[in-house]
């Protein structure tokens, strides 16, 4: 049998005295239904067992809080905190399941799509490479042709390392540069125009590299010399 703590024994004694009709105990300011230890603790922390109610005039009506609810002050915490608190509660949604479930379903859908796509679309390898007969023009896959087009204009160090590196650094810095929290298109005109300019720039490079470059990667017109492009 565990030992009963001393303060519980004291409280039980007080309760027995009160049940016996002791007038002293009945004067204990109506807090008889809340354990004394709790009352002492809340008094020590400066907050009474209190109801937060909207209309206290003439005694507290039941359900006088916001929305007809009874809201109670739990505690007033004294020390400092690293948490940011606001006057009105902020609605929060848990990452699990609200975000992760959606992401998991998206990953499943994408995997299923890739599975079906790779089943339906045939993408065989070409014949073995013959280094005595290299293809002319030698073109990268279409998604690299913008980069290959840059190589015709700049030193390989600039076109292959510096410019893509600057792009990657800009992507890394994007959350720090773009502090606009709104996700409405009308509030994001600057960043939308920046992204649009980048996409057009890159699309033009890719189109030129794909359709306007012929043998030797020289400039050509597709309607004059034909298309030198394989998907």
């Amino acid at each position: 049998m565990t030992e009963i703590p001393e303060h519980l024994l004291k409280r039980a004694q007080a309760a027995r005295d009160k049940a016996a009709g002791s007038s002293d105990a009945s004067a204990s300011e109506g807090g008889d239904r809340i354990p004394d230890a709790l009352l002492d603790r809340t008094k020590a922390s400066g907050a009474g067992a209190a109801v937060v109610a909207a209309a206290p005039a003439g005694g507290v009506p039941v359900g006088a809080g916001p929305g007809g609810h009874t809201q109670r002050l739990l505690t007033v915490v004294k020390s400092g905190s690293i948490q940011e608190a606001k006057a009105a509660p902020v609605d929060k949604v848990h990452t699990w399941p609200h975000l992760l479930a959606v992401e998991f379903v998206a990953a499943l859908a994408l995997t299923a799509f890739l599975f079906v796509f790779s089943w339906v679309v045939n993408a065989p390898l070409l014949q073995a490479a013959d280094f005595n007969n290299t293809p002319n023009p030698s073109k990268a896959p279409w998604y690299f042709l913008g980069l290959q087009e840059l190589l015709t204009m700049f030193h390989p160090m600039i076109a292959g390392v510096t410019l893509p590196g600057m792009g990657l650094v800009a992507l890394i810095l994007a959350p720090y540069l773009d502090r606009n929290a709104s996700n409405k298109p009308e509030d994001r005109k600057f960043m939308t125009s920046m992204m649009t300019m980048f996409l057009i720039f890159w699309a033009v490079l890719t189109i030129i590299g794909s359709f306007f470059r012929g043998p030797g990667f020289n400039f050509t017109f597709p309607w004059r010399d034909g298309i030198f492009f394989e998907l």
Partner: protein
């Protein structure tokens, strides 16, 4: 995703609370379940674990500015060391005690509104009885 009870709407909260001290009888009349949640501020680390875990979103940590007026009790925020206050909507709270189990410092207790029995209140946390993290000791 379809809206489910896993993410219920927030109860209404005010930013201009009137704080009134009431007694246990009032609480018993205003709220049906005869138990109440209590946080001991001295060991609260303001992790907001109780706010996060509450299935009904009925506990909230707000600044003391939310209380506009206090009658018969000290106004939170008057003392400059008052950092945050915790408010619970007792009509929405189901006394599921998830916050009690979640609290890493074990300072949330589920008290019983009523006279304690002669051998002590079985709902009160003591050194050798009460709630610990993840289990009931």
């Amino acid at each position: 995703m379809a809206r489910t009870d896993a993410n219920p709407p927030m109860p209404e909260w005010s930013t201009e609370y009137q704080l009134v001290e009431v007694d246990a009888d009032y609480l018993g009349k205003a709220v049906k379940p005869k138990q109440f949640i209590h946080i001991d501020q001295s060991e609260c680390i303001m992790c907001e674990g109780c706010v996060d875990i509450c299935p009904w979103k009925c506990i909230h940590m707000v600044t003391p500015d939310a209380v506009a007026e206090a009658q018969g009790t000290e106004l939170p925020g008057e003392d400059p060391s008052d950092n945050v206050i915790f408010i619970i909507d007792d009509d929405v709270c189901t006394r599921c005690a998830l916050c009690v189990d979640r609290c890493p410092t074990g300072v949330i207790i589920l008290g019983k509104a009523g006279a304690p029995s002669p051998d002590g209140d079985s709902h009160t946390r003591t050194n050798n009885h009460g709630y610990g993290y993840g289990m009931r000791l």
